[in-house]
Amino acid sequence: MWTFGKKIAAGFAISFALLAGIGTVAYRSTVSLTRTSYSVAHSHLVLETIANVLSQMKDAETGQRGFLITGDDAYLEPYRSGRDSVEKLVKDLRELTADNPRQQKRIDEVEPIIAAKLAELKQTVDLRRSAGFEQARIVVQGGAGKRSMDDIRRVLEQMDLEERDLLRQRASEVEASASGARLTIILGTLSCLIFVSATGFYLTHSLTSQIGSVVRHVQSSSAELQSAANQQATGAKEQATAMNEITTTIRELLATSRQIAESAQRVSQIAEQAVSAAVSGDGTVDKAHESIGGIRHQVDLIVNHMLELGKKSQQIGAVLEIVSELAEQTNILAINATIEAAGAGDTGKRFAVVADEIRKLADRVAGSTKEIRSLIDDVRSAVNTTVMATETGSKSVESGSNQFADVATAFKQIADLVGTTTEAAREIELSTKQQTTAVEQVNVAIANVAQTTKETEASSGQTLQTASQLALLSGELLRLVQSQASA
């Protein structure tokens, strides 16, 4: 598909070619016409020169006759004027007809005749002045002058005829050139007008349709651009608002960073104090660890003693079981003795008293045994409770010792970590100061960005306005194009 430039350039090129062709033809016709006109004028000049030669010869002859008749020198004036001009005129005539050999030949022929005529005139003038009229009349009457003059007229007439033939020939050439030029101009102009009109119609129709389509695209794009510019303007406003908020936040962040830097400095100081306290606490932990070791040893001794006490209590309980068994058997024996004594009648009464006392003793032993068993049970329970509590305490001490070892290890780790924390606090302090500096730079950058955002907002408004104007212009252009197209 050809572009507008190609189409317009092609139209103008063809028009230019036509105009160039018409101009070339017209130029050639004009040049030919001019050249022919120059030849005509040249021919007229040759004819005029021929006529002047003849006229000057006549004037010289007229002055010679007047002087011969009157003897008055006043009549010699035409003679002298003609004599002096003829030579120059012949010379001019020779130059004017230099391109015509026939005319040159005639000039060669007439030039001695003119010289002879002028000599005859001079002779007669001199005779009139020296010998008088009669002598001069004899010479004139001799007819030499007349013949010369007739020859001059004849040759000049031939030259005149030839020049007039050339003149007619050149006039016809001028007419032919003029007719060709007119025909070329008329036909060329008509063809050019037809082509230009057709090209103009085609270009107008093509450009109108294409421009209309493009303008409609431009109008659509303008609307989209207007919408986008509107959104961009809204976004720029929101961005400006956001940048204000960011600026405020950055200022708060800057203040916070300064506070953090101060806090980090204090943390660094406190961490150094903590390192001192940790080193001091490490010694205290070692001493406490030794004390806990002593406590664990004592607790182990207590546990062993209490276990020994429990064993002894168990042995006492075993012996007491024997005593209880003996008391029970004694009681049974006493009851049976009482029964036997009762069966013995009066003789057994005294034995019954003894048996009853034995039974009472057995009951008391049994009661005491129960009390002792209860006490031993209490002791064993207390021992067991103590052993359990002591074992629990031992385990607690063991666990505490282990935990304290862990605490000691952890305390050393804490001391190391506190040292590391101190270094970290110092690094944090330095980093926070650097961060504060960076935040200040960010603050400056954000201020610049905020300024740029404001400018962007203004630019967005200008873009929106431009997009609106573009939309209006595209609409107007579309109306123009469509009206032209419809027209």
Partner: protein, 179 residues
């Protein structure tokens, strides 16, 4: 000296004094106004047995089981050179079988029979006025016809002659050993 040690010494002194007094005093007049009883437990219930109805108290006797369809008969045991059938007092009094059955009494009389029970609590001597007839409502069993009634407790007295009668009714006469 602690308070507990002082109390123990006082109790020891009192026991010694009572022991000495029992041999220094004259025999108590009117001893027939007192009854000697054995305090036992059948199951978890307290009972008493008249001492004059018993010829001996034993513990941890080896009882050899005998085949038969009489569930109250636990077996036989040796007492002072004699083989005596052993019956379960729990079953005879209507309790379910079980328990330790560690204690035995040998019933006085012509027929030698031993009874097992759960626990022997001791010998007790109560005034005869403390023994009362079984009142209606306190127990419905014919094996209990008297009770020891004090201000603090009431203890039924097992009527051993009825127990012997109950055994005789269930066991053929020829199977019971005469003394």
């Amino acid at each position: 000296m602690s308070e507990n040690q002082t109390a123990v010494i006082e109790r020891s002194t009192e026991l010694r004094r009572a022991f000495d007094r029992s041999f220094s005093e004259a025999p108590v007049a009117g001893a027939s106004q007192w009854d000697d009883l054995l305090d036992i437990r059948v199951g978890s219930d307290p009972y008493a047995i008249h001492l004059d109805q018993v010829t001996g108290v034993f513990a941890d006797k080896l009882v050899t089981p005998l085949p038969g369809s009489f569930p109250e008969l636990l077996g036989i045991a040796g007492f002072r050179g004699a083989i005596v059938p052993v019956y379960d007092l729990r079953s005879l009094l209507g309790y379910t079988r079980g328990g330790s059955q560690r204690w035995l009494i040998l019933i006085a009389g012509q027929t030698r029979i031993a009874l097992t029970f759960d626990q022997f609590e001791g010998h007790t001597r109560v005034p005869r006025t403390a023994i009362a007839k079984e009142a209606s409502g306190e127990t419905q069993r014919l094996s209990v016809r008297e009770v020891i009634r004090t201000a603090s407790f009431v203890r039924p007295i097992v009527h051993l002659p009825f127990v012997l009668e109950m055994i005789r009714k269930r066991v053929p006469q020829g199977n019971l050993q005469k003394e």
